[in-house]
Amino acid sequence: MTCEEVQERLLVGADAVDDATRAHLETCGVCRVMDDERTQAPAGSGGDFSALFAAVQADQARERGPLAWLRSRPTWVRRGIIAGVGLLTAVIGLLALRRPDFSEYPTGRFFIELLVMAAALSAAVGVAVRSRLDLPSGRSATLWVALAILIPVVLAVLPQAHADHPASLLGVGSDLIPRAIGCLVWGLIMGTPTAIIAFLARRDDHGEPRRDLLLAGAAGLAGVIALEAHCPITDGTHLLLGHATVVVVVLGVVAFAGWLGGRVRRSRSS
């Protein structure tokens, strides 16, 4: 008999253990220790689980309120809520705070730009929010974070959409920095609800850089989408400094917060 056959037979149970299996076990140390390891649990893994059960019940009793409700939604619902809040900013922007040059801005380009950013936001959320506490691979996390940064940059360096509205000509020269800062702040404000809901919907109580940066990228994109719907300035430099930086700043804040949180936890535990 091969070792594999013996192991498979042992797995079936006592009925399948015949003389040949027993003879193999007597001569094969490898199969014997494997069998020992299976039939005798690691030290400390058996016995009385009453204390653990009480602790688990206490955990479950604490799972009450809106936060617990949000965390316990099915994964597709949590994804929908996070992406929905992000896209809601675009809807609010379009309905209540629509850019004054809306009629001059090429309609096809406008909606393609929104669609590309909304798709990237949804994809980042889809990759980050998972059902079994697993993490996205480093490669896919890097890809989607890079796209979250690059898409607004690419939109900024495209040829100017138009220069047919007086408001679109602002934000240049001495006006560049103040307008860019204004847009950056406004974009950060509009991205904040997405960031808050995304981080509240996490099921684990600790940060995971890969996932958290993806959520930060999504929140940043929500801010850029809101700016796209609201800000009439079409100058490329303004778009780079005032719009594309929203994603970078949100990513930086989340990375810094994760680093700081790690340090605080370490200092508390030491």
Binding site: M1, T2, C3, E4, E5, V6, Q7, L11, A20, T21, H24, T27, C28, G29, V30, C31, R32, V33, M34, D36, E37, R38, Q40, A41, P42, A43, G44, S45, G46, F49, A51, L52, F53, A55, V56, D59, Q60, E63, A68, R71, S72, R73, P74, T75, S131, R132, L133, D134, L135, R203, D204, H206, E208, G262, R265, R266, S269
Partner: protein, 202 residues
């Protein structure tokens, strides 16, 4: 009048459906079934007993939070095992980020067999050492299939790979494990009784 089915007679999935619906008695039965399994899985990686218990507790909390994610047509055991393994992975990632734990083995591992059998205890310790040297995915396939007795399809679901890939990993891993154990002094089948020549008779 039909008598209600005792909870112990229900399968894991039916119990979980009841638990997700708010039946706390169903959770008690599920806990009794899953706590030993999850504890064994954690203890194979985390040798500090208090920390291991904490991670099993976290696993149950995650199962509770994810209870509405469980598909009624799925299998509960691989789903729960995946969450448990991810809780353990997160623990090690955090520990490594904090430079608290350079290696997964903190040296406090206790052999599974009692001190009355030092030879087998030593063999078990060597098995652990050899397992730790296997690639991560291979080791998990062997642990779940051969040590926890999970069928290949369930291991595949827990690891998120195909059943044939699990079989290949388990087979290759087992061969490598034998080599490693042989190097550590645990002998395989005797050379006078080659495996393949007896395969047809077994």
């Amino acid at each position: 009048m039909a008598t209600p089915t005792p909870l112990e007679a229900l399968d894991d999935e039916a119990l979980f459906a009841r638990y997700a619906g708010g039946d706390t008695a169903a959770f008690q039965v599920l806990f009794a079934r899953f706590a030993p399994l999850l504890t064994r899985i954690v203890r194979r990686r985390v040798f500090d007993q208090a920390k291991a218990q904490d991670l099993v507790q976290q696993t149950f909390l995650q199962l509770h939070r994810a209870r509405k994610d469980f598909r009624v047509d799925g299998k509960l055991r691989p789903w729960a095992v995946t969450i448990c393994m991810n809780v353990v992975r997160q623990h090690f990632r955090r520990a490594q980020r904090a430079h608290e734990l350079p290696l997964e083995d903190d040296g406090s591992w206790m052999p599974s067999v009692g001190p009355h059998d030092p030879v087998r205890a030593e063999a078990a310790r060597q098995l652990h050492t050899a397992l730790a040297q296997l690639p991560d995915g291979t080791r998990r396939a062997i642990e779940l299939h051969w040590l926890e007795g999970m069928p290949f399809p369930e291991v595949a679901e827990a690891l998120g790979i195909s059943t044939s890939a699990v079989k290949v990993r388990a087979h290759r891993g087992y061969q490598k494990l034998r080599d490693l154990l042989a190097r550590l002094g645990v002998t395989g089948p005797p050379a006078s009784a080659p495996d393949r020549s007896e395969a047809g008779n077994g």
